[in-house]
Amino acid sequence: MKISQRQFQLLFFTAFFALNFLTLPSRLSAECASDGIICLIITSIIAYGAVCVTINFMAKYPGHTFYSALHNSLGKPLAITFYALYIIHLLIFFTYCTRLICDQISVYMLREYPIWFIECIFLSCVIFLCFKRTKTFGNIAQILFYFIFISLILIILLIIQNAHFENMLPMFTSSFLEYFKGTVVTSSFLYSAVIAMPFIIPHVDNFDKKKSLKFFAVAIACVLTIYIIYYVLCISILGTDLCSRLVFAAISIMESNRNRNFIFERYEILLLITIIFLSFIYASVVIKCIKLAIDKTAEKRKIYYISGFILIIFLIALFNYRDIGTVMLYFLESSNITMPFIMLPYTVYALFKIKKRKAEKK
């Protein structure tokens, strides 16, 4: 059963938040102090461009799966290459997301549990959902969206009292290279759900291109605003130096806020629950895309499923090798590998246009 247009929109609105939501202030302030707002704006513009080209591309082939759309437009060799690149990126993002969220749960909620144990539970939930209908995702996204949105605003209201906005100064003093580095860092993971879009679009009931483009313009603006608010609040409370030293700056602030005697003690749990929901939706969408990719291309599905999951476990083990700070650094330092994800939709669309023109000339 297909998902509705509204469910599709809310699903990706939520998924755009997920990856590195909590580590963003830390990494960005390490690269370009308080000037990261510029990097966030640039990344959001690039991401919206990627959303537009993805939607345009898929709208050209209504009723086709992503693979068949690629096959029809680019030919078999290029289609396989790009399809593989999409899946590799989805796998990396999925394992990184799993490691991050499980580490957060392990550090702040279930201190006594080993990380692999939490990962197993998280994976089992995600994989369980993966074998459910696409409609189930839509329903979950629709239910969780409002909770997530309200709690993110509530969290902002709770921590804004401690902000010293003069800590943001000096602003706009970074060099071009620092802005570039910051943009590379943010564009290596923010809005990474965009590469899952072409896999889900064929499963949307009466997909409306115009509506989607309008909605995602607003959605990305909202996501950007919340990213900026969190970034500004983290720096204005902790300062750029301290913020860049902490892996999960927002949680540290929420945890410190526990002495304020307001309604309940552990504010950070509210933030963590929100992040768990976000990560759950993100990871479910990504793993569903991988499953859809296997379903539509592989004849011997079982072998592919098994090898896919073995690969995931191997990647998770790889990500578990070091502590989360080191993993995060490795991930971001290898941004030149993960960064092209945002360029994939652009490249596919550009090649599609070139091929189309050539065909028209002939």
């Binding site: 089992s124 369980f128 000096p170 902790l238 300062g239 301290l242 526990r258 002495n259």
Partner: protein, 354 residues
């Protein structure tokens, strides 16, 4: 078959989670430190005292309501481990309200860095912890605390007598980290009680100098927005309802510090007729006194090469290009700073009303 497998899988996980949960830490296994004192003793060892209010059930007669545990070691981690061995519990700093730094540890930049780094590495550390300085030894605090019977969640506010918390210089950890190379924290002394007794100036995370309570008021007027502070001049007693400040750069390294006061006159020897002259004599006397004390404080700190009003930080924040130019050309901003202090007072009530 597939559904059955999934159900079995979930059931197995739920059961294993339930069993695993029995190993979880309970509240009885942790020692909740609300206040930590850190210093270096005569033997050169780091000494840390972890203070925790006792649970209400254990109140008995004149027994102290504070529980203290002391850890000794060559490093901060050693101290924590030593205290944990004594208590048989894990020291939990998630509810830490106050960190009191002793004179000996404050003199060592290396140890101060180690202390702060330890807290920052702890995922439960409260970044809004109040930071204090003391000249007294840890044993002095211990003796005084054991005579106390008043444990509250306000902890340090409850043990510091005779000084309403509103008039404290209160600095949280996240504030001192962002204050610049120089920061100031309240000074506590132990006599019969633990008292608030001025403030200590730090530079590059190392203790520089202490100041008394009068200087604290001057510092607060020059650096913060304050409420309800008393000030006495030769001819009047005044309560400053609210004060605010603004630092501006007028030219190159010339700065103007303006302090805005909104004050009530409690008592005066002047014949203050507000309707005619707005209490001009009182104003002049008050403004001169504050200006003089601000100059004195600034020059006193400058003599030890400390930027008490964080002029360099101000330059970095608001005049970044010039700040970088000065840095590149080797201009010493602090020593070449020419500061002008102005006090703008608004007297609200006629003294004759009292």
């Amino acid at each position: 078959m597939k559904k059955k497998a999934i159900v079995i899988f979930i059931v197995v996980f739920v059961i294993s989670v339930s069993f695993y949960n029995t190993a979880n830490t309970s509240i009885d296994d942790i020692y909740i430190a609300n206040c930590i004192l850190a210093d270096i003793n005569e033997n050169g060892m780091i000494e840390m005292m972890f203070i925790s209010p006792k649970a209400k059930e254990s109140e008995e007669g004149s027994e102290s309501d504070y529980e203290t545990k002391t850890g000794l070691g060559l490093s901060i981690i050693d101290c924590f481990q030593s205290a944990e061995r004594q208590t048989g519990k894990e020291i939990f700093i998630g509810h830490l309200k106050s960190l009191i730094i002793g004179k000996n540890i404050a003199a060592s930049k290396e140890k101060m860095d180690e202390l702060f780094e330890y807290f920052e590495r702890n995922s439960t550390f409260n970044y809004f912890t109040s930071v204090f300085f003391t000249n007294n030894k840890i044993a002095d605090f211990e003796n005084t605390l054991h005579q106390k019977q008043d444990s509250t969640t306000g902890f340090i506010e409850s043990i510091i007598q005779n000084t309403p918390s509103k008039r404290f210089l209160n600095k949280n950890y996240n504030e001192i980290i962002n204050e610049g190379a120089c920061y100031s924290i309240p000074l506590l002394t132990v006599n019969e009680n633990i008292e608030y007794n001025g403030f200590a100036l730090f530079k590059n995370n190392q203790y520089v100098k202490s100041y008394n309570n009068d200087d604290t008021l001057t510092y607060k007027l020059a650096c913060e927005t304050t409420y309800d502070n008393y000030i006495t001049s030769p001819n009047c007693d005044i309560v400053i309802n609210k004060s605010s400040r603004s630092l501006k750069r007028t030219k190159d390294t010339e700065f103007e510090l303006t302090i805005y006061l909104r004050a009530d006159v409690l008592y005066t020897n002047f014949d203050a007729n507000f309707e005619e002259n707005g209490g001009e004599e009182i104003k002049i006397e008050l403004e001169n006194q504050i200006e003089e004390s601000v100059y004195k404080l600034f020059e006193d700190a400058r003599a030890v090469n400390a930027d008490i009003f964080n002029i360099e930080k101000y330059m970095e924040r608001y005049h970044y290009k010039d700040y970088m130019n000065y840095k590149e050309t080797g201009v010493d901003i602090l020593n070449s700073a020419d500061i002008t202090v102005k006090v703008d007072t608004k007297l609200l009530r006629n003294a004759t009303m009292y």
